[in-house]
């Protein structure tokens, strides 16, 4: 006589506001000392991603790579925008922004900031 079935049901609930996925964003060739902020575009408008802003670490003005880990994606095709600003001290650079489509495999954003000879 067979025994009573064993096991259970595993369920997972995804809230509408939950990200589709998380993946890393690697930023290459940024100037140390720059303020950075990562966001995404909603109808062309920049929306900051909380927790993904700060100052590029390293020796002032050195070219450095850094990685922003577990960046959420809130749309099947989400356009990221990285802003870099360095206009207060040391060698100044013009306001810079770069875009990329977020991917579950991660994204590499190569940036090339331009020195600001005016400010």
């Amino acid at each position: 006589m067979p025994g009573a079935p064993i096991g259970g049901v595993i369920s997972h609930t995804r809230a509408p506001t939950d990200p589709f996925f998380y993946a890393d964003v690697e930023v290459q060739n940024a100037r140390a000392g720059s303020a950075y902020m990562l966001g995404y575009l909603v109808s062309g408008e920049f929306t900051p991603l909380a927790g993904f802003s700060g100052t590029v670490a390293g020796t002032e003005n050195a070219l450095v790579d850094f990685t922003l880990t577990n960046v959420p994606s809130y749309a099947a095709t989400m356009v990221l925008e990285l802003r870099l600003r360095k206009g207060t001290s040391g060698t100044k650079y013009q306001p810079y922004s770069a875009n990329a489509v977020h991917s579950s495999n991660g994204v590499i954003m190569y940036v090339s900031q331009v020195p600001d000879d005016i400010a």
């Binding site: 920049f46 600003r85 005016i118």
Partner: protein, 178 residues
Amino acid sequence: MSVTVDNLLFDFDLQEIQVQAARGASLSIQDLINAIRSAEDSEEGITYSKIADATGKVDKGGGFASDITVNLLDWQVIWYAGTYQAVISGGSLVGGKSSIAVGNTAGVNCIVNNSVNGVLVETGTSGLTPEEASTLSGIKTKTDQITFSKTGEVDANVKSLNDTELLGTGQSGDKWRG
């Protein structure tokens, strides 16, 4: 949301650069762009689009460089309240809200000394208005009719002397006479 740099208050919601009284009634373009770039990389400012573009300081040799032009991107400079004359100098300030770079402040007369040092003129054009060109062309038509059969002497048909019409053909029996 706002940030203050060098007595210039940047209101990111109103998109205004509000000059504070402590700064005084004059503002140089160099100081303005320095403050703009500093405001843009602030914690608040980086969440907004850049405030202005700037060009200039191109080396022309001999210790000269082109002046600075600041193009405000839908931002305006607003002077502090009072009755005085304000001056913006040291370059050119363009752009702004509806292409007005300096907003109105009651009682303040603001002079913007936009410099023009070296302008590019399109080649192949005279720079004249169509009316001036037409007038000049008419003059040339007339001067082209002047003949110099003998160098330095204009050919002329003498019809009067001393405001009196000449009579006669100059031939024998019909001498010229007044």
